[in-house]
C-alpha cells in the first residue's frame, strides 16, 4: 500500500517549506513591529505603557507556544462568533503574539544597553523623549538588536513547526503527509530537516550580511564607549 519515497514527494515538501517561509516572514515582520512598540513601551517614562507591556510580555513568555496556537485556533471562533480566520491567519496571529513578546525583550535589552551617557547627552541638548529615541537611542539600539533578533527569528522558524497541529500544510505537516503516503519517515524527515536547515541558515547568512554591511560586529558593551581614551 505504500509507494517508495521518490522525487515526486519533494513537491509537497517544497510547497510546505514555502508555506513555512511565508508564515515566518509575515509573523516575523508583524512580530518585529509589535515587538518594537512593546519594547519601547517597556522602557518608556509612562508608567501605564510600561505596565501594559510588562504584563503582556510576562504572560506570553509564561505560556507554551503550543498553548498559544491552540488558544488562537480554537478560541477566536468562540470568542468572536462569525470571525473564523483560516488556518494560515490563525497561525500568523499565534506566532505574532508569541514573537512580539520575545522581540520586545530584545528591544528593551538593546535600548538599555545603549550607554546612559547617550541619553543624558541627548537630554542636555534639549531633545525631547521621542526625538531622543528616534535620533540617538534607536539607531544605536537597532545595531545591538540584530544579532539576538536573528537568533530569535531562527527559533521562530523552528517553533513554527508546532502549527502543524492546526492542520496547516506547512513543512512539518507536509512531512507527516508524505510519511503516510510512503511509509518512509526516515527519508522524508531527513529532507524536512534539510529544508528547515536551509531556511535557518539563510536567515543567519542575511544577518551576517547585515553586520558586514553596517560594519557592526556587535559588542554592546564596547559600542558606546569613546575610543582613544
Amino acid at each position: 500500500m505504500f509507494r517508495d519515497f521518490g522525487w515526486q514527494d519533494l513537491v509537497p515538501l517544497a510547497e510546505g517549506a514555502w508555506l513555512t517561509i511565508q508564515l515566518c516572514a509575515v509573523s516575523g515582520i508583524l512580530g518585529v513591529i509589535f515587538g518594537l512598540v512593546l519594547g519601547i513601551a517597556r522602557t518608556s517614562p509612562s508608567r501605564i505603557a510600561r505596565w501594559i507591556s510588562t504584563i503582556y510580555i510576562s504572560c506570553v513568555r509564561g505560556i507554551p507556544v503550543l498553548v498559544i496556537i491552540f488558544f488562537v485556533f480554537f478560541g477566536i471562533p468562540l470568542l468572536f462568533p462569525g470571525l473564523e480566520p483560516d488556518k494560515f491567519s490563525s497561525a500568523v496571529i499565534a506566532l505574532t503574539c508569541f514573537a512580539a513578546a520575545y522581540v520586545a525583550e530584545i528591544v528593551r535589552g538593546s535600548i538599555e544597553a545603549v550607554a546612559k551617557g547617550q541619553s543624558e547627552a541627548a537630554d542636555a541638548l534639549g531633545l525631547n523623549y521621542w526625538r531622543k529615541l528616534r535620533y540617538v537611542i534607536l539607531p544605536q539600539a537597532v545595531k545591538i538588536m540584530v544579532p539576538p533578533g536573528i537568533g530569535f527569528l531562527i527559533g521562530l522558524v523552528k517553533d513554527s513547526s508546532l502549527v502543524t497541529v492546526t492542520g496547516l500544510l506547512e513543512l512539518t505537516h507536509a512531512g507527516n503527509v508524505v510519511t503516510n503516503l510512503t511509509g518512509d519517515p526516515i527519508k522524508t524527515f531527513l529532507v524536512v530537516a534539510a529544508m528547515y536547515f536551509v531556511i535557518c541558515y539563510g536567515i543567519s547568512l542575511l544577518g551576517r550580511l547585515y553586520e558586514k554591511r553596517t560594519g557592526v560586529h556587535v559588542d554592546p558593551l564596547k559600542l558606546p564607549e569613546p575610543a582613544g581614551v
Partner: protein, 240 residues
C-alpha cells in the same frame, strides 16, 4: 543668571547636597573643586535637570527648575553641558553630532545649521575632522567636538562636568585652551574640575565643596593662597 537657594538632593537615604546656596552672575566663570563624593557633579547636574531636586530652588535665566510647569527642554537649550566621558553620538559623524540639536530642537534650516557647525568646529580646531566618526578621534578631539556640540544651541551658560578627567595628561591642555577662549569671550561657565591650574588662571570665583556643602568660596587668590577653612587647606595640600 543662576540662583540656587537651599538646594537639597537625596539619593534614597543618601543626603548628597545639604542646603547649597549660590548665585552665579552673567559672564562669570566659576570653578567648583572638592574631593570625590563631595556632591560637586550632582550640584552641576541639578542645574540642567539631569538630577531632580529634592528640595530648595534653582532659577536659571528666570526659569524655575523646581517648578513642574517649567519646560525643562527650554532650560537645557540655554545651558549647554559637557560631560566627563564626552558622550558623543557614535553613530553620527562629527558634523552631525554638532548639527543634531539645531536641526531637531531649534528647527534651524539645514544650510544654517551646517554653516554654524562648521564655524564651531573650526573654532575648536577640528574643521578637518568634520566627516570623521567620533570613534576615530582622540579623547581630546572628542571633548572639543562635545564642546562645539553644546555651543551649537547658543547656550547662555556652559556647564562642564570634569571635562578633562578622562583624558591623557598631555592632551588636557588642548581642551582647557578651548575653555579658556570661551571664558574670555564672556561665556557664563560653571566648571567642576580637578585642574587647579585652570581654576587659578581662568576662574573668577572658586567654590570648594565637601560632604554636600559649600565650605568656602572666593577668588582663586583667596582660595588657593589663603584658604580659611581647615578642610580647604587639607584638600589643597593634597592636590597642589
Amino acid at each position: 543668571m543662576i540662583f540656587v537657594e537651599n538646594l537639597n538632593k537625596k539619593f534614597g537615604p543618601n543626603h548628597v547636597l545639604k542646603g547649597i546656596d549660590c548665585h552665579i552672575r552673567e559672564r562669570e566663570v566659576v570653578c567648583v573643586i572638592g574631593p570625590s563624593g563631595s556632591g560637586k557633579s550632582t550640584f552641576l547636574r541639578c542645574m540642567n535637570g539631569l538630577e531632580t531636586i529634592s528640595s530648595g530652588s534653582i532659577v536659571i535665566n528666570k526659569h524655575r527648575l523646581d517648578d513642574s510647569k517649567t519646560n525643562i527642554n527650554l532650560v537645557r537649550q540655554e545651558a549647554g553641558m559637557v560631560f566627563q566621558h564626552f558622550n558623543l553620538f557614535p553613530h553620527l559623524k562629527v558634523i552631525d553630532n554638532v548639527m543634531l540639536a539645531p536641526l531637531k530642537v531649534a528647527k534651524t534650516s539645514k544650510e544654517e545649521a551646517r554653516a554654524k557647525a562648521e564655524m564651531l568646529l573650526a573654532k575648536v580646531g577640528l574643521a578637518e575632522k568634520m566627516d570623521a566618526f567620533p570613534g576615530n578621534l582622540s579623547g581630546g578631539q572628542q571633548q572639543r567636538v562635545a564642546i562645539a556640540r553644546a555651543l551649537a544651541m547658543d547656550p547662555k551658560i556652559m556647564l562642564f562636568d570634569e571635562p578633562t578627567s578622562a583624558l591623557d595628561p598631555e592632551i588636557v591642555g588642548e581642551v582647557l585652551a578651548v575653555m579658556k577662549d570661551l571664558a574670555q569671550e564672556g561665556m557664563t561657565m560653571v566648571v567642576v574640575t580637578h585642574e587647579m591650574g585652570f581654576a587659578r588662571e581662568v576662574a573668577d570665583r572658586v567654590i570648594f565643596m565637601d560632604q554636600g556643602r559649600i565650605v568656602e568660596e572666593g577668588t582663586p587668590e583667596e582660595i588657593f593662597s589663603t584658604p580659611q577653612h581647615g578642610r580647604t587647606q587639607g584638600f589643597l595640600s593634597k592636590v597642589l
